[in-house]
Homo-oligomer: 202 residues x 2
DNA sequence: ACCTGAACACCGTTCAAGT
DNA sequence: ACCTGAACACCGTTCAAGT
């Protein structure tokens, strides 16, 4: 109840989180190469190997960054898509690509590979996936998406959003800048085609 | 004409290419972290800094690996898709994802970012893109793809193929393994939906 | 329980020197 | 023109030692 007891435990947590925040800031600023344990320690005001008291190694620290980021993105994007009565699949996908374009380095880190089997991260990913699945099924019920396997349809949507964002970030999408489109445009195109396909096979 | 004159110039080229081959082999074996100039030199039978006589720095060597790989993939995939009378867009995309799944590390390197403005690499990419565009337009003429902007349609196809391959490699596609699909299945799904959409709006 | 400073092995890059 | 060996600055990780 006293202020001292309130501070002891959170202190360790804040130190740990300040290390994660420092790593994320360095990642945003200069890419993965800029994230060195020495710089992380300096930014957090500790020695270059203090992180080892909170994380097994550098990859564990990066996994924590990815976990925090996936959690934040889910909160924002899922929150936006749940604004109306039923979850909006298109809003989920456009929110996803917008987040990817806004935080390119975190996006690449988070989805670059399955980080160490982090149960917390897996839980967040699973919840987000469930929401997308519900949105897909709702859209199918309204005839806006074809009546196919919803999991597979969700995979199609995710793959396009992910690929459009990734190619845009690496410059492969707007090669000539001529007939090219933004990732959000491609997401819109796909939903329109799927709506037409659903209308054709009712 | 003599054997000695025949050897001098190609020698330098073979040395350069043996360095590229060594780097590619190390990349395949252990990912980007395994590609160190010291290991590259050892595998090529030279000192750890001999590569600097052929490449400006490590990134230039990696760019050469990416350039060689893009050229090889284009040759194989484009060749397969040109087997019949008109280029086959679906064959191009399935060939693309098959190559990505077969050489994951090279795929990530080649498409991870636009490498240093390599004119050779840009030319290969441009030629490959032109072939895809021709295939898309041929399919549109046959009513198999919607009559939209062909460049934008090509972007949609590429984004899906790229995203499906990338997510499969990082394990994000078959999360539960339940209703998940292989990247080639998603490519097939997309072409089927596009065919239905084209049939709906003739 | 958490942190520090020294130390080790490794890496990319540079440089003087060789042929 | 191409290569070598030594050297430099940097990094991830370990460890003995402190509180």
């Amino acid at each position: 109840m006293s202020t001292s007891t309130r501070k002891t435990k959170p202190m360790a947590e804040s130190r740990r989180e300040s290390l994660i925040a420092a790593a994320a800031a360095l990642l945003d600023g200069g890419g993965p190469a800029a994230v060195t344990l020495r710089e992380v320690g300096r930014a957090a005001g500790v020695s270059h190997n203090a992180p080892y008291k909170h994380f097994a190694d550098k990859e564990a620290l990066l996994a924590a960054v990815a976990s925090r980021e996936l959690d934040r993105m889910s909160r924002v994007v899922d929150g936006e898509a749940q604004g109306s009565a039923r979850p909006d699949a298109k809003a989920l996908m456009t929110g996803y690509v917008a987040w990817a374009l806004r935080y390119p380095e975190r996006f690449k880190l988070t989805f670059g590979r399955w980080m160490r089997d982090d149960p917390e991260l897996a839980a967040t990913a699973s919840a987000s996936r469930s929401l997308l699945l519900a949105a897909v099924q709702a859209a199918q019920a309204h005839g806006e998406l074809p009546a196919a396997n919803p999991e597979r349809l969700a995979g199609l949507l995710l793959a396009l959003a992910h690929g459009a964002a990734d190619m845009a970030l690496s410059g492969h999408l707007s090669a000539d800048g001529k007939g090219s489109a933004e990732p959000a445009d491609l997401v819109g195109d796909l939903f329109e085609y799927l709506r037409l396909a659903a209308a054709n096979r009712p």
